[in-house]
């Protein structure tokens, strides 16, 4: 009887546990632990969004840029400047890039690390791209502290881009303004929307490269960083809203550099397993918040929990470990040689010229064939006189010959 009671008690205990613990507990275990919200990383992110909840017009972008300028200026060993430009998008307004530089006067080589700080209208842009700005700031802190003791063999430029949502305007403006120096840029790192997507990807080139190998090897395995699937993200002639295959049209600020032949490393999150050949932010429709009012801090916490901090710090660590790796300079120096030649493969002018040449060749062959047919059909001109068909003296009485 005693054993039976014990057994019943055990069964009841198991039943209570099963009833109380949610079925998706595995996915939500990190949600219960809010300790990540006490980290400096999270506080920076939260403060940035709280102080700049909207960042989609001139005044809002200026306030956000000022905020970032102040934070960047607080890091020792860094020169910070604002670069203003005009946005000719849906409406005309002034925006600015915040540029922080760690100089090495002994070299003209440099790398650029960037993230955009603006957001689409009606969105807080917590994931897109306050997370990127936070990772950018963390990277700046790490690199500045490191370079203070171990000078890097290149300049490092950190850029918080404005007006990305208006069509990559800030990065295009930066690339245009610094066009003469782009040939000395070894690599451009871009960070955009790194938390909310199901998976964390890095896109280097749509094929294996040494730079991709280096980035992945320098990243903590716990971050689960993978390279973007190479042949995904394209329909017809256009990449579907960035992040995809087609190198000339990608949906974030690294595109402006890649188009000028600068190797790029792009960190972003998403899921390529949801749609056929296309990018999706998440398999969970509730998590598809990009450029919507759903992209808020509360949703970022709700759906990602401690992953918010893990991914932001993980990306900052990944970039820092990559650029301070002993082989980085060599790998980056060869990175341009491994790029796909956009001007050859994606410029429609060349295949069109080939078609024109083929049309000309075919035209010539058709003309030759036409003349041959003419001769064979006794409808030819006077030169057919020599053929056996026209050996009769009265041929001119029958046919009219061209002169």
């Amino acid at each position: 009887m005693k054993k039976l009671c014990q057994l019943l008690l055990c069964l009841m205990l198991v039943a209570v546990i099963v009833a109380v613990v949610p079925h998706n507990a595995t996915a939500d275990t990190s949600f219960d632990d809010d300790s990540y919200q006490n980290t400096e990383t999270y506080k920076f992110l939260q403060q940035f969004v709280a102080d700049n909840p909207q960042r989609s017009n001139q005044q809002e972008e200026l306030l956000a840029a000022d905020w970032i300028f102040q934070r960047f200026s607080g890091v020792s060993g860094v020169n910070v400047a604002m670069e203003q430009f005009t946005v000719n998008g849906d409406y005309i307004y002034q925006s600015q890039n915040v540029v922080a530089t760690i100089d090495n006067p002994n070299t003209n080589k440099s790398i650029v690390i960037g993230a955009h700080y603006d957001a689409s209208a009606s969105s807080q842009g917590a994931n897109d791209n306050a997370t990127g700005i936070t990772a950018l700031y963390l990277t700046l802190q790490r690199v500045a502290a490191y370079a203070d003791k171990n000078p890097l063999p290149f300049d490092v430029t950190f850029v918080a881009f404005g007006a990305e949502e208006q069509g990559l305007v800030g990065s295009a403006e930066y690339a245009n303004r610094h066009f003469g120096q782009l040939e000395n840029v070894l690599v451009m790192f871009n960070i955009d929307s790194i938390v909310n997507g199901d998976y964390l990807y890095v896109a280097v080139e749509n094929k294996p490269t040494d730079m991709e190998d280096l980035v992945l090897s320098c990243t903590k395995p716990s971050l689960n960083l993978t390279h973007k699937p190479y042949a995904k993200g394209t329909y017809g002639v256009i990449d579907m809203f960035g992040y995809g295959y087609y190198e000339t049209i990608q949906g974030s600020d690294h595109t402006s550099f890649r188009l000028e032949g600068v190797p790029t490393v792009f960190y972003f999150s998403g899921n390529y397993n949801v749609k056929l050949w296309d990018f999706a932010e998440s398999a969970d429709i509730n998590k598809q918040t990009m450029n919507t009012p759903m992209d808020s801090m509360s949703n970022l916490n709700k759906y990602n929990g401690s992953l918010v901090v893990e991914r932001i710090e993980g990306v900052a660590d990944s970039i820092f470990a990559t650029i301070t790796n002993s082989t980085f300079e060599q790998v980056a120096g060869n990175a341009r040689k491994q790029l796909v030649n956009l001007k050859f493969w994606y410029n429609p002018l060349w295949p069109t010229l080939v078609v024109v040449a083929l049309i000309a060749l075919l035209g010539f062959l058709a003309w030759k064939h036409y003349r041959k047919l003419q001769k064979g059909s006794i409808l030819g001109t006077a030169e057919i006189k020599n053929t056996t068909v026209f050996h009769q003296p009265d041929a001119e009485d029958i046919f009219t010959f061209k002169k």
């Binding site: 749509n206 002639v237 050949w277 429609p348 295949p351 080939v354 075919l362 064939h369 036409y370 047919l373």
Partner: protein
């Protein structure tokens, strides 16, 4: 089986038109996916396929009109029109099918996308037009009339190639 099919105009006509529509969709589904995404805000495969099939059906009705117009313009009155249109649609079907197969290469080697999008349709159209000319020239023209037929077909082909492949 094939002989029976060739001797039955109605069956051949229906079969050819159905295949024309299907192969048109097969050849152009990537472009329709793109259009569905841009204009519909969605990348639905179903929308793209339905759009392609619908346009294919429309083309089935437009192709005979164009062929009739061109035959009248070229003053080629001695050709049996319905049969000739059937052959035109048959070669279009073959062309669409081959182009569709070649377009699948883009999925596996997207780097060829830029060149393939321009070159594949042109190369396929060259091959199909030549085969079409050889077949129809043998069927409907003699050594004398084939000269004019070749000239007319060549002009149509080069104008169409230049407009669609270059412009």
């Amino acid at each position: 089986m094939l002989k029976k099919l060739m001797s039955n105009y109605n069956l051949s006509n229906i079969l050819c038109k159905v295949l024309f529509v299907i192969t048109f969709a097969f050849s152009n589904w990537q472009a329709f996916m793109l259009a569905a995404n841009i204009f519909g805000g969605d990348n639905s495969v179903v929308i793209a396929i339905i759009s392609a099939l619908l346009l294919g059906v429309v083309l089935v009705f437009i192709v005979p009109l164009i062929v009739n117009f061109l035959l009248n313009y070229m003053r080629l009155y001695s050709i049996p029109r319905l049969e000739y249109i059937l052959i035109v649609e048959f070669f279009f079907t073959i062309g669409f099918f081959i182009n569709g197969l070649l377009s699948l290469i883009h999925l596996f080697t997207p780097i060829l996308l830029g060149w393939g999008t321009v070159l594949f349709p042109f190369l396929v159209s060259v091959g199909c037009t030549y085969a079409f000319y050889k077949v129809t020239a043998k069927m409907y023209f003699n050594d004398v009339t084939v000269v004019y037929y070749f000239k007319a077909l060549a002009v149509i082909f080069f104008v169409a190639s230049f407009v669609m492949g270059v412009l």
